[in-house]
Symmetry: D2
Subunit: 433 residues, 4 copies
Amino acid sequence: MTSTTEGRAGWDPSTLQSRYDVVRTYTETLAAPLSPEDQTVQSMPDVSPTKWHRAHVTWFFETFVLADNEPGFAPFQDKYWFLFNSYYEGIGPRYSRPDRGLISRPGAHDVGVYRSNVDDRMRDLLTTLDEGTLTKLAATIELGFHHEQQHQELLLMDIKHVLSRNPLQPAYAGTPSPTAETDQLGWVEVDGGLVEVGHEGDGFCFDNELPRHEQWLRPFRIADRLVTNGEWLEFIADGGYRRHELWLSDGWAKIQTEHWQAPFYWTEVDGVWFEHTLHGTFPVNPGLPVSHVSFYEAEAYATWAGKRLPSEAEWEHAARVTGSTTDRVTGNLANTTSWHPEAAGQSTGGLRQMFGDCWEWTSSAYHPYPGFRPPAGAIGEYNGKFMSNQMVLRGGCALTPAGHARASYRNFFPHQSRWALSGVRLADDGATA
Amino acid sequence: MTSTTEGRAGWDPSTLQSRYDVVRTYTETLAAPLSPEDQTVQSMPDVSPTKWHRAHVTWFFETFVLADNEPGFAPFQDKYWFLFNSYYEGIGPRYSRPDRGLISRPGAHDVGVYRSNVDDRMRDLLTTLDEGTLTKLAATIELGFHHEQQHQELLLMDIKHVLSRNPLQPAYAGTPSPTAETDQLGWVEVDGGLVEVGHEGDGFCFDNELPRHEQWLRPFRIADRLVTNGEWLEFIADGGYRRHELWLSDGWAKIQTEHWQAPFYWTEVDGVWFEHTLHGTFPVNPGLPVSHVSFYEAEAYATWAGKRLPSEAEWEHAARVTGSTTDRVTGNLANTTSWHPEAAGQSTGGLRQMFGDCWEWTSSAYHPYPGFRPPAGAIGEYNGKFMSNQMVLRGGCALTPAGHARASYRNFFPHQSRWALSGVRLADDGATA
Amino acid sequence: MTSTTEGRAGWDPSTLQSRYDVVRTYTETLAAPLSPEDQTVQSMPDVSPTKWHRAHVTWFFETFVLADNEPGFAPFQDKYWFLFNSYYEGIGPRYSRPDRGLISRPGAHDVGVYRSNVDDRMRDLLTTLDEGTLTKLAATIELGFHHEQQHQELLLMDIKHVLSRNPLQPAYAGTPSPTAETDQLGWVEVDGGLVEVGHEGDGFCFDNELPRHEQWLRPFRIADRLVTNGEWLEFIADGGYRRHELWLSDGWAKIQTEHWQAPFYWTEVDGVWFEHTLHGTFPVNPGLPVSHVSFYEAEAYATWAGKRLPSEAEWEHAARVTGSTTDRVTGNLANTTSWHPEAAGQSTGGLRQMFGDCWEWTSSAYHPYPGFRPPAGAIGEYNGKFMSNQMVLRGGCALTPAGHARASYRNFFPHQSRWALSGVRLADDGATA
Amino acid sequence: MTSTTEGRAGWDPSTLQSRYDVVRTYTETLAAPLSPEDQTVQSMPDVSPTKWHRAHVTWFFETFVLADNEPGFAPFQDKYWFLFNSYYEGIGPRYSRPDRGLISRPGAHDVGVYRSNVDDRMRDLLTTLDEGTLTKLAATIELGFHHEQQHQELLLMDIKHVLSRNPLQPAYAGTPSPTAETDQLGWVEVDGGLVEVGHEGDGFCFDNELPRHEQWLRPFRIADRLVTNGEWLEFIADGGYRRHELWLSDGWAKIQTEHWQAPFYWTEVDGVWFEHTLHGTFPVNPGLPVSHVSFYEAEAYATWAGKRLPSEAEWEHAARVTGSTTDRVTGNLANTTSWHPEAAGQSTGGLRQMFGDCWEWTSSAYHPYPGFRPPAGAIGEYNGKFMSNQMVLRGGCALTPAGHARASYRNFFPHQSRWALSGVRLADDGATA
């Protein structure tokens, strides 16, 4: 997939197979609490049905690994190639995205059969791979793992929205939501100068994290934790959603049209704010990080606070120099009872909540790094073609699978997106700037 | 419900109960072949999910019968009153119609539980009813039967559309579609004069079929069968969809915008027309009645043929004087293998295919009969408030349950509707007109 | 144009020419107070710019009279045939209706040049017509007169809307608006039976007023004047726009979506209702007929009042039997200072305000009369193709040119239209019904 | 307006007044060929009517200069403050932008009266200013000059679109369009390193050009002229608009939806491409720069050519180091016969056509420079609030008034905009990159 992972060492068949099993099983674990009906619904065009996610990640292995390498390959179902292609124009025509919720068949069970079939074939392939082919294929298979992890996160964000549309207020999981005490926001000073940005080293990365390159930064400060619900309530109380001077013009138009008055999943009942979560609906907890806000809201909040958002280069550089690494990411299903938001903020090198709470809006448009070249073929459509009209988010969130986050990771959403688990970290110019 | 049924004799508890069981069971029979996922999808705003139909007809009995008559009544679920109210403003706020497909819960199984609960309570009520209450309630309960039958028909029309959107081309039922030989279209002459229109006698009718009243008709002719697929193919071949002079202005605009070139479920593959049916997709059979055409298409076809559509008064009068009664309706699940279209056209008094093939567009706008007054209360919203922007269809169709059709029955759809099982019968001015 | 006017006597060249001059001059008189900018604006798709009206009625004579009869005919400008064709598909492609306001050229002055050119050519033609051609052409020329009169009325309705969108509140004409005292509404009883409907006699009529035919009416009552603004204020005060049970379903949806709370041109300022008129903006006068209400509002008002709207047959029959003829129409520019609404209601045969105040909504859908056949050729598109999704209005209004109204005249607008000068006359079932 | 211009020397009353007269007169010169009807039309929401531009730039002086400084100030017309406010929320409510074409009054002549009135009052003010007030006001008055110049350019872009919608193909100006010979595209190599970006020196600049700051650039190459029509024809011929792999995802969706197949004003007639210009419609000239392409098209073209767009920092740095200054800008009404496209490309320091042909799309999103702070008050809405969802364009165009362009000037439009006079200059990574 990327120049660093192609042909790099470290993958042997048994490691690949065991990793394959872990990733694939985890998707089914996430889908397990959901009924066939839950897995069918598409509550808005951005959202995909659960069973579509389960099938699409399977299609990815079938298309990009099995098709060219399985002896006597034939697709499990011809029509699945059409139904479960997300956006790869190079593969052929696709089923219309906003219509994914119209497809009752294959049903949830049928998708399970499809998954098993591809799993069997993948395991067969992995056991029979010769060294040369392994070297050639490992990068694509690893991309498949990370692709599936992205969809694991999306599956949870999406079902959260699906369930939110239901007046019965169903919960995805019964565990009670975490709470947190409010504490003092601190600032970490970071020197500027000529810094390096982009993925470094042998590990996996997506193509959009490369090439690693130099960038000039002025000294800056960055908050040591995310903006909290309690702080957001002050913003609301101070007329944050009614004062045009705080907003970008597009954002102001949006909040007028959509009547936004609070984060996405908040509802006011008799003067008290409640928040829809994967556990059900609860009063807003002031100590937890605010979540499900758009870039426009993040930017307006920063203006109101007399601060600004960090650029993606500032964020990445700060993560590196403060030693905030992904090792300490805990915001996932395996090792926390929390879906969202993540209570157990990590304190690392001065910066907390860097990887396991909310994706953090930056002030940077999502554009290619200098010298970026997407790979040839359909796989080249993975990232590059989305580099317009979106903003970069950094870090990770409570729904991000373990091992999926890293300091150079570039997530991206349109300015108005709110259904993703997105939050806000403030920055400011450095003392000597 | 109507002045004729209120308080009329003929209903005793055991007949009511047995009729209740028959109607209610038939709904579940129709839903049986459908998976939970099938029952969840709403493929366009006009369509409702199967499980919504199943719940809504249940809600009707709970709301209009149990609520005021069951001792210690409490709703099965408070929120169901909100979710399964179709359009009764008098009952309170309703869940948005185009969003019915977003509701994954209650699931198909949960709806079954709801149905059983209401069935038990209805049976309890029916066994304990005293004579006076029975007299008071019978009309509403009977309305509940006919209401459920309407939804049985809709359930089939709707699932036909849901399945049509699926590239896998699933069938609702495996039985092969019927075919028919083309035969000669004949004409039946009918005298005009001062005729009576509207429901007559003791049997059930909807409020919109009353009052029976006089209307002046000129002599006319009416076709003894429906327009066939074969005739429609000639219309297409003669540029029917490309010649503006055949069309009403609104219809012409519609076919331009929507790119209509054939009936709703037709698709051309390599010069051959195929039709999506509840059995699957088959080549268009020339001898069967054309179906799934809009009023605009019906009217344009009639203009092309040098004829016109019958008015609803002409249709009803012709049905009466030729002795075309509903006894011979066969287009239902119990006694035909055909879903659609109905092969076994009845030849009765000269007019065939009057009740069991396709709903027949008339030239009459759906307006109240002279002297029409809807009943008081929420039940008064059943029909009257829809009397604008729609055209009347008469007869019945292959999906209409047995016992549900009659000569005075007024069905109605907007001019552009095509997902209903609608067809065309031609008329013309009489020889002496 | 119609079977009665084709070839009928009464037209000689000099009468035709003098009538031509009167009609054509009146259009320019109406446009005179309007600046080139006023004449350019299209304030919504239903509205046409003044200069477009002026050009289109000219195009009508050029297309349907000169083109086939002028020796050596050539169009004044080729492109005008495209720009000023309103809806005649038979003539060729047309310029998009909603884009009429994008056409700055030809300007208002250029349109005047076009008008003069066609006037000269028409006068030349009229002076050189032989008897046979005259007989052949007279009906089309007369249709051109009535066509231009229709557009004179539309020109005023349209410019009223254009000026209403301007915060400067400009007036079309400076004359003060009339006022009227409220008086008692009376009822006129009319016998039913088999009556004749449709145009009768030698005079001009549009094709949609024919054939004259029989219709059966039950005895009915009809109000002797229109509903007043004062009565409408009571309807508003009684929650008329907030009570769903008064409304057709489509109407209720419309007033929700559009936030209707009063007639089209009413605005509430500090608890007082003001009305935009062609004279400027004034407090609503309680004694004048309510105007600029949609069919939905008219129907809801009638329901609220415990009455109903008359059918078009009832209206026409009542006009005939009470002797309400068009001779007494005074609602035009020549003989009243009033544009709208018309103060001087006429008392004729018991029915007042029949022709010169507001077009009156009926309960009848706009459909062809039994036996209706539009003329051959493009001229056949004049009326027939609009016979769907519209309701009939009868009478005439304060903006209707003198000589243009008659008892059999069928005007028509969609249910939701409000920019036309439309009002409400109530009806009810007769005492003996 | 900006920190550098506030209080800076160089303005004395007579210079200000003479500059005022020059700028204000030029606007009227540009509007002179346009009829009142031309000046009224708004052909799409992005476009403003000519007379609106003329009034709005006048409103700017009245609002930001006269209101606080004229003794006994009263607005010329209260309602004009509402009608001619473009986007300043801080001033109060505004008239809806997409409805500017609905406002027939004030007419073109009335706007002239408004302009004269404000001109008189401005001249009075300028002659009576004391030294202190002059120092305080000069920056705002100068901003008014540049603001009016921006609208002079927009006025021409807008009227070009208005006239393009007219089937009569009217010309704004009669002068024939220039032509140019195709020549060889050359490349200029530019060193990277730590460079300064942003406005420098005493001259006027907009707030978005500041603060001047350091940025790290890699070595790059930049084309010495713009992409030509001839080269664009090759792109089309090679399937440029049909090959998904060349396009950003949003751009591909856009060209599907909008059916783009060529630049905005191009039309194909019998295999020959014609271009609408301010002079009329002519065959596309292969040697002239391509114009009226969106960012999506510019980016796709660069991909097709195996190159990329320059970043805004690269563009500005290249202009500086090659000595391409604005002194040589000739693309304006005063000193060229050309409206568009500009024939007389300047060859300066190796880079041609930098300022007087087409605005040049860059690869940079329009975001604030590090340390950017908008001024306080309504004037702070001038630029900052638009810094989302737009891309930066650099240079200037044939419609840019003399003296209005400079190397640090940041123009911006949304990715899909095409009605602006926008073109393409290619860049590439440097040899040593």
